[in-house]
Symmetry: C2
Subunit: 112 residues, 2 copies
Amino acid sequence: MANLTRLKHEFTRSSDFLIAIGDQTRQKIMIALLDEKVIHQGLQVTDLVGVTGLSRPAVSHHLKILKEAKIVDYRREGTKNFYYLTHQTKAIDQLKTLLDHITEVMACNQQR
Amino acid sequence: MANLTRLKHEFTRSSDFLIAIGDQTRQKIMIALLDEKVIHQGLQVTDLVGVTGLSRPAVSHHLKILKEAKIVDYRREGTKNFYYLTHQTKAIDQLKTLLDHITEVMACNQQR
DNA sequence: TTTAATGGTTTAAAATAACGAACGGATAGG
DNA sequence: CCTATCCGTTCGTTATTTTAAACCATTAAA
């Protein structure tokens, strides 16, 4: 009962995140950002254009979505914007919670 | 290095699942199916039409996507199709693995 | 066999998302 | 001040997704 209401909220809460990370282009961007452990100062939009093979406006568009999903953030330096992953695990944790609850409810149904 | 290659594959592997569960209508369908713990014999398409407020072809379409993502399956009884959640946790587990690895790589970057 | 119920598929329309060309704003360097 | 660099935004186009009307197949019931 309350379980399903909770699930409903958790689905809603994780929707943006799910949509954000479901897209192939955005996955490429995230992987590139995960990769920059050497540089560790963020990647410029121009760099990500190279990674994705898309135009700058397209990349800019995806970065906006990732930014709104709190997955990335950026820092200005002159005219340059350095994008990096917010090292927040909040969205990840919330999604994990959702997945756990789904598993839980399924297991509960399973046994009867 | 190999970490990122692995992540890339895991992203690809979970893509269908992410896209499937990111949609609001499909979330409604899944919640309805999770709810049928009393009946526990599956829900008919007509039932799901009521739940979602959409037309039958639309529901049928979403069920197809959920079916291809191995999230639901169905059983025929005469002219009736009873849809239920495959109680497979494989896709869920794979996604959890992905999330764990992301967290891992992020933590690794964090410390330097 | 005829009629009703159930539901998948095809088709076409509508809504949404993704995309690049062109533009403009801000900053750095000369 | 002028020029170049970097990047977001606007706009119109294209691609993809979502949707329902119409159609067809299957099965059950009369």
